[in-house]
Symmetry: C4
Subunit: 197 residues, 4 copies
């Protein structure tokens, strides 16, 4: 039995995610001077902001769908959710460090590490919800094989290791994973359509 | 069929817009010294803050009315909405750069570019909603000829080009577009009043 | 007829006010060094933060009660509300400048000016709501003579003028007004209790 | 009789807590340079961020459960809640100062002081709610002996005093209290399960 309304968990998560996605832009410091040239060092910062905006947007979107398929909020779900928010909260730092160092090796590896940990946290949250729903879990049916969720951590790991010699390979992998998730995922939508709401 | 409640899309958008409108003020750095004179360099920063506050307020207001005329949230609507929020999230940066450089040419052009992209993103979102509503779209009827929505991007373009030789002409155009939108727009309100809610 | 739900206006205002009250604390910069002595210059910053926290808390509280007595949201109410949020958004700046200059004369006057403008904006919003409610306005009955609302701007003005020669007199006045509002105001609560909800 | 919906108090508190938990990460400044070595000075900042994230998460969680057992919001509850939010809003400052000074003595003591004051504020809020509920208070039954709530302030005090000679002892105490609260607390959940909702 849950004593927490799903609504407040959604509202709090939305609040934190909305703040994360917005304060990331503060790492793009307003430059001194008014010539177009002063914007040039900001290009990598901007590009890493775009990538992180996409990732946080994808997390918000998936989080939303996942909670839609959730009926009750238990203690483990609540803490698994805070754990996910914790790793998401490190996006502004990891994004800023990577952007301000032109996608250097260590920052690129750290960025991949934060992506990896957020992916794992999402996986844990998903399984906490499934566990709470018992054998007839709507979410378990909805995610099916969950190949994206299982493949992504492996790709993040590949990104982290490749960042040791080529940060561009790592970037390409991170962008590839984002695109993978951007392609509409009709699984949960489909499963829910079957269910009378 | 949508699996996303309109409420959560509204709440998330409200959260992001509320944060954008509030962190813009952080670009107005607290000055060193306590004489009134130290406030003088902040006047352009303040004026650009006022202009951006108006623009973000207008976007929030229009976004609200548009979603009011929306019945279901589809994948394309969701991403078109995030796309709009992305360009709005660049307002603090563009505002800060313009204000700190006394409305210099390049910052004024960049500000116009962000206005333009936000306007285009709003247009795309509007059409994603209309497309989801089919031939009897309430929103399509509500926006009518949408002359403001079509004229604004042209005016932003005019602002960007005029900023190449006179940033004050560009500013005047940006202020003019804001005033255009501030004048109450009874179209959507009127169409909705006809509809039993 | 209003096309805006009161809920979304409340949610947006709550969001902005929550952000304002929280980012004010960012003006209290983490000091260099670990001795207790480095905290000393922060004492005025802390005190001005406490005062502003109280003011924003009072505004949030009163805003909440006022909207509770509001049934529909019109265009003028919406813009009067954004106007109030605009002046509230200047609290972090005014608070930071006053605190970092040990309650110097100009910063104290500016702080009073922001208080004054927020007070006037609140007054305008209140009257926009009353106007929308017509002759049987619940809010008009609820506020009664509104002596606090009418006295406060005069006291802020007194504070601004006294700050020209004694910033401590001005501070005392600002604190006095805050205390005045902190004393429970049973007017609206009372009027609402009469009304079946 | 209350004139404030519980929903808006929850929403505002969620907003403030979401912002606090997220802006704390801004104290972890993006370092200059791209070698792994530049991250080393950030380790204590990161650790203190983790601890504070846990504490704020615990407060959010407990606050949520407490309000769940609350039926009406009175003036004293509202102000006791703002008082709690005030002390929570000092977490980013206290966390940043402690982390940037490698858990030095004074910063560790100040951190404990903020923990203590937040604990006391929580206690006051709890009793304001119980007082408003009268002799049959659901919350009073739910919290039972409230041994955690009574023990925590004593442990914070012990932490503050021990920080005068060993900041590591103080840290151990702060971590211990957090762990104490992390252990699921079935009291309120249990009491609520008895009540038809």
């Amino acid at each position: 039995m849950s004593v927490m309304g799903k609504g407040r968990l959604e509202a709090f998560s939305d609040g934190v995610i909305a703040i994360i996605i917005t304060i990331m832009v503060l790492e793009m410091k307003v430059p001194q001077g008014e010539s177009v040239a002063v914007l040039r060092p900001l290009i990598p910062v901007f590009l890493s902001y775009v990538l992180s905006f996409l990732y946080v947007g994808i997390y918000w979107n998936n989080h939303h769908h996942m909670l839609h398929a959730t009926t009750r909020v238990t203690g483990p779900i609540l803490w698994a959710n805070l754990h996910l928010l914790f790793w998401l909260s490190l996006f502004p730092f990891a994004t800023g460090w990577m952007g301000q160092n032109y996608f250097g090796l260590s920052p690129t590896a750290l960025y991949g590490f934060v992506l990896l940990m957020a992916g794992i946290a999402y996986f844990i949250l998903q399984h906490a919800i499934i566990a709470s729903q018992g054998p007839d879990s709507v979410l378990r049916k909805a995610i099916g094989s969950d190949w994206k969720g299982k493949l992504s951590p492996l790709l993040y790991l590949a990104g982290i290791f490749s960042s040791l010699f080529s940060s561009w390979t790592a970037q390409a992998i991170y962008v590839f994973v984002a695109v993978l998730w951007l392609i509409p995922d009709r699984r949960i939508e489909h499963a829910l359509r079957q269910t009378p709401s």
